[in-house]
Point group: D2
Chain length 370, copies 4
């Protein structure tokens, strides 16, 4: 099955292995007339680039993106946008145990069982590096949303046991610290915690929170293609994500209706609004105009320096040590991936929903074309 | 957009409103040769039927299913299976405030904004009754999985603050109590808790847990169509579900790699297995042969007897009382819906993955078909 | 695979066997606010109903359609529209040879080989009766197109060797004769020809032509989803259709560029128009604003009274006689099916194309919703 | 809409403009374990390369393909295969009238109306050069079919008024002449005919015929996704194709049932076979085991040297001369594109149909995986 293609109208098709020649993505269904240049993409890619701090992998990736199609004279043409990043470091080396053993917490075992063999170099297609294509496509989606006034941002809500304190929430702080936390104090503590994990040859998980502002009402569908359902799929498809919740999420399970229901009222501008936002901006699968707020639980980096028990593909039990430098935490680099997947999802639902009403259909076909 | 169709190869198309003439589903892509009769479907539908206890809606639904196509001489033929349930109670009545007001926690507001108007009778398509089609399709999917030796079961893990105790876990107990809890003691406490909520004109949320046993290794895909991502979408598409987690889920975010990684070993039968199952049966988006375990957070029933503040579609603020009997809890009736959506998802991924290897393709086309 | 579902945004899911309990269709993705009632559907279904003349099957079908969902107070709600027709004549009878033999020109052999067995009653799902669902869905699509001022009509261009004469073309004549020919004289000759075929226990083929007027410019896509490609698939998916051509079609293969190219000019209203229409209204896969004109070649009815040679599913060669009354021609009843499939295809492409430009996207999301 | 992606399980996503940086394709859903190298692709691409004769464009394209992902140690891994060809000649030049005028018979007008502006360099995405991606993907599909013993070949059946004579049919001759005709004598006459067209500053159409041998029985679906319907869409999506027919095609419309029906019999190997093949290898939308034979009508090259009348995008009527060398015929270069699209279509249907029977599903999941 073609598991690297997503989207109904705004289609994203990613490709590329960690240590192959290149990685990239084809975005089909981007409307014509969107101003787009390589720097729009590069800016997003740079946010997922390692080598920025001791908490992210040392390998210099570079990751200079090239737009190969779909843009003419600075604007999208409505045709597929192909974007590519060359892998710089492809020299073959001895992968040792990794070539024939199954790293705990990785896709080595399942991939090999499913396909019969695997590209063992750096995790192949199951590497975190696979997200290059997602982020490049996400940059296009975010550009579209900006044109509609919709804003998306994500940040680390917690790293291991260290959570942000919302009384200190400062959106501008997010890009100031290597933790991508909107709370400088929590970020400091998180750095200390990660130092400790490195010392222990161990790694940490964390939670990413994402906020989407200025959504039009009614994006998403009533039954299977609910906005929250599609966001859940998109976010859970990011490697290492083990949980997703919207609004109060799991806390709602312990709440009562009289608290959890958000009352409607007429706000100062005379519009229908909600007094609270336990729902996280979605009612019955459709955006309700409030902020959309969701969270993703990210597991600890599975690659740790510590010796681990595992088996080989010949059925032998061994002790394995994964050499090289490893990120002790996935969260900071995944923040931009979460934004990207959220944007891709929303753009596809926006476009798929344009024919929801007969009067919208008439608006487009009576005037725009001819 | 067509938000009531799901699946790539095993396609499920549900239809019907709460107080319309009927509800139903068309399942396309069911393999030929599966023994199937109405009682297979009825058994599942009966599990979601209200009127079983004071904790579930009093309205007699009946819900007798008819299979209208796709089955011949007791076996599926490979053509679409159409299943239908007539709505018995469609007499028109005065819906009062509901017709023009937005119930808090419901889809009334978003639906009307998106589509311009809405079928206000009992929630229309946004009613929980919409799950009739999901469960009928789920019954077909579960029948397919049984043929492959795969078993799915779900239960209430918690209702409000009352959680099951795993030391008392008894699978047979699940269908013995109205809470669908595998722990009779917890079920008793949960019933008491719900009595109290009814007294308070309030409602409760809860958590459903689902277990899938005997999965083949390798079901699901590496990137966008990960098994856990597709399960997340399917489960989050059920009304009232606000969170999804697999394996340790959100707890993994607070864990460390040395604990969260599941070591591989060779088990007594000589097969590769895992010593622990923090991953919940999925690695890199593909089933790893362990039990798949996931949880869904269900919000409290939004319809409560208590007076609530809201607005009308003419922009007036009002106090609203929703008359009639309301379930104080959604969880017990949603258990079978969770099983159904999980089964539908897995069947579609199983079928979509049959061409993963060239040797599988040869196996089918060299021998099965002439 | 789910071969009975079509469409990306306007999704049509048909079901039902020739001699099963009922046949029907679920249409998902119809915009809200379209006036729709059962008579809109019935009118179209009546055009495919047999028993109208000696050239169409004698069996009384009735085919009264019921709309079971998706319409409230006379308008579509944006939710799935389920439509159903009960089969009246389902009494079991002795199907004789048909149960175990393969009728020449029918799907009996291929269906049984693919699925292992088959519903042999009246052809099951491979019966022409399968088109009930297509026509019901087509009626909805045609209603949508009418709202946009787009008109579709089809007719018999030829029956066997008898072709219409365009100098006598009269659109109003189409529904006046049983041949659905826009030329009374040709219709008369065609009736005579069919009489002769009935005498000879034989059957005839023919060609259906379809015209679509007032198309907006730009419907369809540049590469795989060209409007003509999608029309070709839709029309070729109708049983018995063996060829499809647009504009000059196969004649263009013998033409030269200087003739086949349609010159653009400025028409009397000051709009860009074409002097000729060899292209049939589509350039580069997109509608060009001229009339779309295409043709479908329909093979002779495979069920003939004459004795034929064939084999049984036990591998024996036999002589077979197919009892009962048979239409000597498929063309007249397929005219409405061609219109239906064309309408379904165009609606889906119209809806899928609404996000072609950034300014269209803004037009919908800046004003319609909220 | 994303009109450059096709396929359900075997997904092909092409990209690239005629005079952009590069063209390419991503193939997702290729089974693991298929031997594949760049020469497999190059061989096919070379067949569509111009500059081979005076009848094909003089521009040196080169078109060296690179495989960027999805292949490891000479075999496909089951992950997306990205293939790319750089455009050598991208220097900007003065496109003169083409930049603002609509060439007759081209997509210039429709593209600009739909998207608001267009990449006018060499036709952009509507150029015949877009087929580079199709052919690269087709090479992968053909490799898969070969593993299953299925063979596809196409050839020119006619060029203008010159048709091949089947009594002289010689498959080996196809690649011997620049016309791709299986009849050397007809090829000679066709060359003469094209010389004449060049003299007349004109162009010619033609017909391509394609044969598929050794198909398993039962590929394709009963209703919308009939094998012939999907082939029709795939072939009609190739630029310049105006008609499609299978088996006797349009001739069947003039035939009678007693002739057009193919009688079944038991052949010398004891298998069920057909005495004739009027159906072209497909019954009821499914392959019947006979040769599949279809034809595509190709219009004359719209770019001709002769002065033509047209309009500009400012609404002025002008006389236009398209400079440069033009192919007087599209047919020979399109032969390999027809083979490619046929192969892509069949592979997708083969993979989508693997779950047609419960026993096939068991065969894969009981043994292959773990």
């Amino acid at each position: 099955m073609s598991g690297s293609v997503t989207g109904n109208i705004f289609t994203v098709s990613t490709w590329g292995e960690s240590h192959g020649k290149a990685l990239g993505v084809v975005v089909d269904g981007c409307p014509a007339g969107l101003p787009l240049e390589e720097s729009d993409i590069q800016e997003m890619l740079d946010r997922r680039k390692p080598g920025q701090s001791k908490f992210t992998t040392a390998r210099k990736e570079g990751d200079e993106v090239q737009i190969l199609s779909g843009v003419f004279e600075g604007k999208t043409t409505g045709t597929p946008i192909s974007m590519l990043v060359w892998n710089k470091d492809q020299r073959s080396k001895d992968y040792g145990q990794i070539a024939y053993s199954y790293r705990p917490g990785h896709a080595d075992f399942t991939f090999e069982q499913k396909y019969g063999f695997r590209d063992y170099r750096g995790g192949g297609r199951s590497s975190g590096r696979e997200t290059v294509g997602r982020v490049a496509a996400g940059a296009v989606a975010i550009k579209i949303l900006k044109e509609l006034g919709i804003e998306i941002y994500a940040y680390a809500k917690s790293i291991g046991p260290i959570s942000i304190d919302y009384t200190r929430f400062d959106k501008n702080e997010i890009s100031n610290n290597k933790m991508y936390m909107p709370d400088a104090e929590a970020a400091g503590k998180a750095e200390e915690y990660l130092h400790q994990k490195i010392q222990e040859q161990d790694s940490s998980g964390g939670v990413i929170e994402c906020v989407i502002k200025n959504m039009p009402v009614g994006v998403g569908n009533t039954v299977f293609d609910k906005l929250d359902a599609n966001l859940a799929k998109a976010i859970m498809s990011i490697g290492a994500v083990k949980g997703f919740e919207i609004g109060d999420g799991f806390a709602a399970a312990e709440s009562v209706g009289s608290v959890n229901n958000d009352s409607f009222y007429i706000n100062e501008e005379g519009n229908i609004s909600k007094k609270t936002n336990h729902a996280g901006g979605i009612l019955g699968g459709m955006s309700d105009g409030s902020d959309i707020i969701f969270r993703a639980a990210v597991k600890p980096t599975p690659s740790i320096s510590r010796e681990q028990q595992t088996v080989t593909n010949r059925g032998e039990e061994i002790n394995m040590v994964i050499h090289g430098r490893h990120d002790p935490i996935i969260v900071p680099r995944a923040v931009v991936v979460v934004e990207s997947m959220a944007a891709i999802t929303i753009v596809d639902l926006l476009f798929s929903g344009m024919s929801a009403r007969m009067d919208s259909v008439k608006k487009i076909y009576e005037k725009t074309q001819q």
